[in-house]
Structures are given as C-alpha cells and as structure tokens.
C-alpha cells in the first residue's frame, strides 16, 4: 500500500469509529442535551474526516477541490444544525438532566 492509501485508510477508519461512538452515545446518554452533545460533535468531525480522507485517493484535481469544498461546507453546516436544535429546545424551556433525576428519558 502506498503512503496516500494508508493516510486515506486511517482517516476513513477514524471517521467511522468516531461516528460509531457518537451513535452509541445517542443510546446511552440520559437526556436531550447530552445526546445532542455527542451526536452533533462526532457527526461533524466524522463527516469532515471521511471527506478529507477521500481527497487522497482521488485521481483528478477537480474532484479533489470539490471534495474539499463539500468538507468545508459541512464544517459550517453541521454545527449550525446542532446549534439550531439545541437553541430550539432551550427556547422551549427544556430542562437539562441533573444528577439525581430519575433515569433520564428513554
């Protein structure tokens, strides 16, 4: 395997692992805000890593530029989406889970 393929493999694998842990966090976390914390952050990071990883195995320059552009757009859009969801919940007075509250919502 050549160097650029190793880089791609590492980045893609990292992206997948981060995404998986984020999804696991969705199931394990006790309330809305913590779930969004895990899912939103890992989501944004994993997407960017996968796209940057794909840049190294693309043969032509135009597609590489397009991949980088999409990664940059996602770096802006995904955290904004997370912010929008959290702000909506906050504006509707959703209380965070504190230690001692029973269980947490399903």
């Amino acid at each position: 395997m050549q160097a650029h393929e190793i880089v791609t493999t590492v980045l893609l694998a990292l992206g997948c692992v981060i995404s998986l842990t984020g999804s696991y966090g969705l199931l394990r976390m006790p309330d809305f805000y913590t779930r969004l914390h895990t899912a939103g952050k890992t989501d944004s990071l994993a997407q960017v890593m996968i796209f940057v990883g794909l840049v190294f195995v693309t043969p032509d320059l135009l597609t590489q530029l397009k991949l980088v552009m999409v990664a940059m757009i996602l770096m802006i859009a995904a955290p904004t989406a997370t912010h929008a969801i959290t702000k909506a919940a906050h504006l509707h007075h959703l209380r965070p889970w504190t230690k001692g509250d029973p269980g947490g919502e399903p």
Partner: protein, 405 residues
C-alpha cells in the same frame, strides 16, 4: 456474490427496519423524521446501483422536500396517532402476505440481478441510445462519423429491428452493438441497406443527424429524459404545475387580517442568521449549477430546481415569510410557475415553427444539429428547473400559513 449485492443487502436491511419503524411509530413527527432517514438510505442504495441521477433526485426530493411538506402538515394536524386497542391488524397482514407471496412467486421468472443477457438490455435500448445519444467514441469533443458509416441508412432508421440474432440471449451481439472494441456505439442493424433513405426525405421531416452528441451531452439519462422521452418530461412538468395549483386551490384562504402575518421568529438568532446569509448565495449558485451541468454529469432540472427551492425556503424560515414576499412576491412566483412549462412547450413549438417536429431540438441549429440538440435540452431543463423550484416554494408557502381562526 458480488460486492454490490452484499452492500445492497446490508443497506436494504437497514431500509426495511426503517420502513417498519415508520409504520409502527406512534408519534407522527418521529415518523416524518424516519421518512427522511429512509429517503437518504434509499439514495445510498441508488448510488450502490450506479444510478446517480436517481440518487440525486431521491436525496433532494425525498430527504429535503418531503420532510418539509410532512412537518408543515403536522403543524396543522395531529401530533400523535390515536392509540388502537389491537396493535396488529391480522386481516391486513394476511392480505399483504398473500399479495407478497404471489409477487415472490412471480420473481422466480426474473433474470438474475445484473444479468447482461436480460431481455431489457436487448433490441430496443442500443438502437434508442444510438438514435438519441449518437456516437460514443474514445475521444472527447465532436467527432466525425467513423469510416464505413452509411449516413443514409442511419437516417432512414425508423426504429424497426432489421436483423434479429438467432439466439435472443446472444451476448456477443449485444456487446458489439453497445460498446464495441473500438468504443463506437453503433448497432449492427443500422448497416442494413434495405431501408431506403427516400422514405424520410419528404418536406418538413427533418432527418436525424449523424452527429456525435457525446461532445455535448455525455449524461445519457438527461439526454433520454429531454429528447427521447421529451413528451413524458413535458407532461411531468405539467403534473408538478398541477400539484402547485391544486395546493393553492385547496389551501389558500381569504385573509381578513391582512396579507402579511407574524414576522421573523428566527432572525434574532445570531448564528443562524449569519450562517444563512453566507449560505444562501452558494445554495442558489449550486442549484443553477446542477440544472446547467445536468448534461455533463448527474443532475438536471428536477434536482437543481429542488435545491433552488430549498434556498428560498431557508430564507423564509429564518427571516420570515414577509421578507420572502418582499424578495419574491407571490404574483411573480405564480407567474414563474407557468413560465417553466411555457419554456418547455415553447421550445417544442419553436422547433415546430422552424420546420421540424414538435420537440425535435436539432432544428434549433441547422448547421450543427448536435449543438441544436444540446441547446434544446438545456432550455427544457431550465424550464423544468424553474417550474419545480417555484412549485415547491408555493407548496411550502401554502403549508406554512397560520390558521386564520
């Protein structure tokens, strides 16, 4: 088992689980969100099956517009499904089981997945692609026809199959008829000399040009959509237009408290406002790019139109519908809805007036018919894009109205 089938099976398993969840979940908002997930998974399945245009359309339309429509409706209707005493309807289950069993019994006669000898790839498709797409050579740009090519036989081709291979599953015939060793797509039937050219030289009947469309329209799906199935696409644009008009008729209520209602709920959120302001020009540009680039790669009028509509819908969500009405007044929106259909049928009528048949785009440029075909396809794609974007925006506007109590 090839890799495509394996990934296909895994994705389809996910899709099936999501489908069951959509049906069974009681909360309707959750059902709408799961529909969006389902559409995006479906787009992945399409990509796995190498159908890029369909994947693009499914992602844009299913993942974007359908979700907006559903949530817009759920605001006006219920939030949850009413709980039922019996969870599972056994009679319906029996009926669908019987129906499914009958269908599965029918699939035993289907050719296997990916079979190149399947009847669908024979006879009609190679000739149709040659007639609409033209030559496919190994060099980019416009090419001269290859040596030994008989233009009169090509022009006289009227869709009939002049020669039929003895064995209908003869792959060799098909391979040489679609992408032969020289990379020229020219069905052997077109070399048959028994079709006289005189059949198609009467006045007013334009002969189909022996030109290389590959330099203009490499995306064969767009080429087929706009040229070979041009009537289909025109009436499909009319279907979308009719849907927009139906929404207006069904939902537009006489407003007593004035034309504009409660204004911007979200423009005071700094992050959303700034990001939206940055993003909307690029979304619009991307939508126009998708419409224009649809001939060269995946894309086209529908996909691009939906993206343009999404830009306007984002603007309306963040800055309020009064701001949208200032930017794009409803009379303009309604006018543009009809303008797209007019552009499409107008292009067809222009071809008619220039001496050809309806929707025969090669009349648009008599010196180089391939250029004419590409120009015609661009014009109709723009027509489709304008109609689709304005109709989606109209539907959003109608669904987002507050109820006048």
């Amino acid at each position: 088992m090839t890799a495509i089938v394996l990934i296909d099976t895994l994705l389809l398993l996910l899709v099936t689980v999501t489908a069951v969840a959509i049906i069974e979940v009681r909360n309707l908002y959750a059902s709408a969100m799961l529909t969006s997930v389902y559409s995006l998974l479906m787009a992945l399945v399409w990509v796995n099956m190498h159908s890029m245009d369909v994947a693009f359309t499914e992602a844009a339309v299913g993942g974007g517009i359908s979700t907006i429509l559903l949530i817009g409706t759920l605001v006006h209707t219920a939030r949850e499904e009413k709980p039922r005493k019996r969870r599972l309807d056994w009679k319906a289950l029996l009926l669908t089981g019987l129906c499914g069993g009958a269908l599965i019994y029918g699939t035993f006669d289907m050719p296997r997945f990916g079979d190149p000898k399947a009847p669908i790839h024979h006879f009609r498709v190679p000739e149709m692609m040659a007639q609409t797409v033209g030559f496919v050579t190994s060099r980019a740009g416009k090419q001269a026809p290859p040596e030994g090519f008989d233009p009169s036989a090509y022009r006289s081709f009227n869709g009939a199959v002049a020669s039929v291979p003895a064995d209908p599953t003869d792959t060799a015939w098909r391979e040489t008829s679609i992408l032969a060793q020289h990379g020229i797509m020219l069905p052997k039937v077109l070399g048959h000399a028994s079709h006289p050219a005189a059949e198609h030289t009467e006045a007013g009947h334009h002969q189909h040009p022996p030109d290389d469309f590959n330099g203009h329209v490499p995306n064969s799906v767009t080429s087929l959509l706009a040229a070979y199935r041009g009537y289909d696409t025109m009436f499909e644009t009319t279907v979308i237009f009719t849907a927009g008009v139906s929404l207006i008729l069904l939902l537009r209520r006489p407003r007593r408290e004035g034309y504009l209602q409660r204004s911007a709920p979200l423009a005071d959120q700094a992050v959303l406002r700034v990001v939206t302001k940055m993003a909307i020009p690029f979304i619009l540009l991307f939508g126009l790019y998708v419409i224009t680039h649809g001939e060269l790669g995946p894309g086209g009028g529908f996909q691009g139109g939906v993206v343009v509509a999404c830009a306007f819908i984002l603007f309306a969500l963040i800055f309020g519908r009064p701001a949208l009405y200032r930017v794009l007044p409803p009379p303009v929106c309604d006018l543009l809805t009809g303008l797209g259909v007019l552009m499409y049928s107008g292009t067809g009528a222009a071809c008619l007036l220039l001496g050809g048949q309806f929707l025969d785009y090669s009349m648009l440029n008599t010196l180089s018919p391939g250029d004419g075909e590409a120009l015609g396809m661009t014009l109709v794609e723009y027509g489709v894009g304008i109609t689709v974007s304005m109709v989606m925006l109209t539907i959003f506007n109608q669904l987002a109205e507050e109820q006048s109590k």
